[in-house]
Amino acid sequence: MKILVIEDEPEIRNDIMQSLQQENYVVESAPDYEAAREKLGVYEYDCILLDIGLPGGNGLQLLDELKKEGKQSGVIIVSAKGSIDDKVKGLDLGADDYLSKPFHMAELRARIKSLIRRKKLGGSTTIEINNVIIHTEQRAVYINDTQLQLNRKEFDVLLYMATNRNRLVNKTALAEHVWGDYIDEVNSFDFIYSQIKNLRKKLKEQHARIEIQAVYGVGYKLTDI
């Protein structure tokens, strides 16, 4: 699985690369428009992370060229502007997803995995961790072939944690992913804890060989048992 990170901010580029390398992806990077064009001209990538504001040119232009050449790479646009125009334009030009800066690494990983799942034509849309199988399309979870009864939000939490398996997921990242961007008051995070508690209980009852651990009060981590 090969990913190209086109991002001009060196610290952010490094963070993204490190985070993705830990997921065992092959990650390459380009700091500006020209470098990105060269790489795109020579290599094929499964997924491209594309910053719109680049030194030397606009990321949307790269996207346009890419699509004209008929490349099958999945493209996630990243924009610091957070402007709706960029989003609409990008998606019109054939981008697969849109992420506005600043974002959590957990969110980025989830988006990339979701994109790769969708791109794999005819491939499995299931995530299998030990004895737990998550069917992402049917939104169903099986443990040892028994279906686990989860409500909508519990499923979203589990899926998000599973796509970030063994990685720390920040509470804010989880809340924003599952409950929407505008849920951001700290005192409402207590209720996330209660949701996680329910989920843990259900997993344990079915003897799932995964568990959700709290990490220093910063966030949670899905680990194998």
């Binding site: 901010e9 952010i12 610091a80 709706i84 959590h104 929407g180 849920i183 008051e185 990490v215 220093y216």
Partner: protein
């Protein structure tokens, strides 16, 4: 009072005074001239009578005025010597008017063949009361004429002259910083030209500083995003490393929480700038009822967690033409506000009418500060970790569309948005 009426009323008073003084002077000057002319006439008549006496001495016996306009009576030489010509005003019975009318009388003396005579010559005089009356009428007409002329001049000439001023005034009245255009009409009058220039300069200056301030906030928030994101990523990586003592972890958690709070604050400020900079251009008909129901559903977990009950009163269907994202943000902020400033087991009421949305919640027992509630960074409770921008964003969105937002307290804290433009 309009400047035109102001000038007219001043002119009316000034003209009244000037015309009155002028009338007095004119009256006396004219009267003097009339006397002068009448007295000359009497003198001339006297000469004619004396010529007549020289050829016809019978008239020396004309003692009464009768049909003529003179009378002669013999006097002693002594009296005649001390005699002086005297012009005087008197009155005389006039046959035609059947009344005593004012006359001018010349009392004089002359000598004829060694004998002395006194002679009185009269001529009819102007009637002073008539003269005054005529003069008064004339002046009233003059005054009225002048005032009417001034009014007409004001209405046509002055109005025409002041037109650029009024046009400028009308534009300034409708001036809004969001649409800073003042079109000053060209004018030949220097004062107005200067005024136009000054106003243009001022508008430009105000707009520039307003814009730079707006863009400063936007740029600052924008520039802060990257370092914030990097800091959070690094701290998360540190937490993920798993080599922390629980003391370290607590410090890390506090740092992360605050960085995230800063991120939220920054995001809200950026959103506010974007609303104010009108970066949400696209508009559509938004069904408020549907949106409210969707948002309440999204808040389901939080509502349940806080044991809050929702009383939904959809009186009518409310459709508003606005940006969909902004509508979502506005209603989300209202609902969030009602959730956050509530107590466990409290209540949230939602009332939707054709042109309004009211969100109420239980909370503090006393009313909140109505003036400051919608201000940026205003917090009822200083320790609260909210950004203090939620309701400011609601207000900014409402203002962008000309809606009004109001707060009232009737056991519940009620915030209502009226979509009437």
């Amino acid at each position: 009072m309009k400047v035109l009426n102001y000038i007219t009323s001043y002119l009316a008073i000034i003209l009244l005074v000037i015309i009155s003084i002028w009338a007095g002077i004119f009256y006396y000057a004219m009267l003097g001239e009339i006397y002068d002319s009448i007295d000359d006439g009497l003198d001339n008549q006297k000469g004619l009578i004396l010529q007549k006496v020289a050829v016809d001495s019978t008239i020396l016996n004309k003692v009464g005025f009768e049909e003529g306009d003179y009378a002669i009576r013999e006097i002693s030489a002594e009296t005649a010597r001390n005699f002086r010509d005297v012009y005087s005003d008197t009155s005389m019975f006039m046959q035609n008017e059947q009344d005593f009318e004012p006359v001018r009388l010349l009392n004089t003396a002359f000598e004829h063949k060694g004998r002395y005579y006194q002679m009185q010559v009269v001529t009819s005089m102007v009637e002073e009361d008539d003269l005054v009356r005529e003069l008064l009428y004339a002046l009233i007409w003059l005054y009225a004429g002048l005032i009417i002329t001034i009014l007409i001049l004001n209405n046509f000439l002055l109005k025409r002259t002041w037109r650029p001023f009024y046009q400028l005034l009308a534009q300034l009245k409708n001036f809004r910083l969001e649409k800073p255009v003042v079109e000053t009409p060209p004018t030949k009058i220097e004062e107005f030209r200067l005024l136009n220039e000054a106003v243009q300069k001022m508008v430009q200056g105000t707009t520039d500083s307003y814009n730079s301030q707006k863009h400063f906030i936007e740029n600052a928030s924008h520039e802060l995003q990257t370092p914030l994101a990097i800091s959070i990523n690094k701290l998360e990586a540190l937490a993920e490393g798993g080599r922390l003592t629980s003391e370290d972890a607590k410090l890390l958690q506090t740092a992360l929480n605050n960085l995230e709070r800063l991120t939220r604050l920054n995001r809200s400020l950026l959103l506010l700038s974007k609303i104010e900079n009108r970066q949400f251009a696209s508009e559509e008909d938004v069904n408020i009822n549907e949106l409210v129901n969707k948002i309440i559903a999204d808040f389901h977990d939080q509502l349940q967690f806080n044991n809050l009950s929702v009383e939904m009163a959809e009186q009518e269907t409310c459709t508003v033409n606005m940006n969909h994202d902004l509508a979502l943000i506005m209603i989300t902020n209202l609902v969030k506000n009602a959730v956050v400033h509530n107590y466990k087991g409290g209540k949230i009421t939602i009332d939707i009418r054709r042109n309004s949305l009211t969100v109420g919640n239980t909370g503090k027992a006393e009313p909140l500060n109505r003036e400051r509630l919608f201000q940026r960074f205003y917090k009822e409770d200083e320790t609260a970790s909210s950004t203090g921008l939620g309701l400011a964003i609601v207000k900014a969105i409402a203002e962008a569309y000309g809606f009004s937002v109001d707060y009232s307290f009737r056991q519940l804290h009620l915030i209502s948005v009226s979509f009437n433009k």
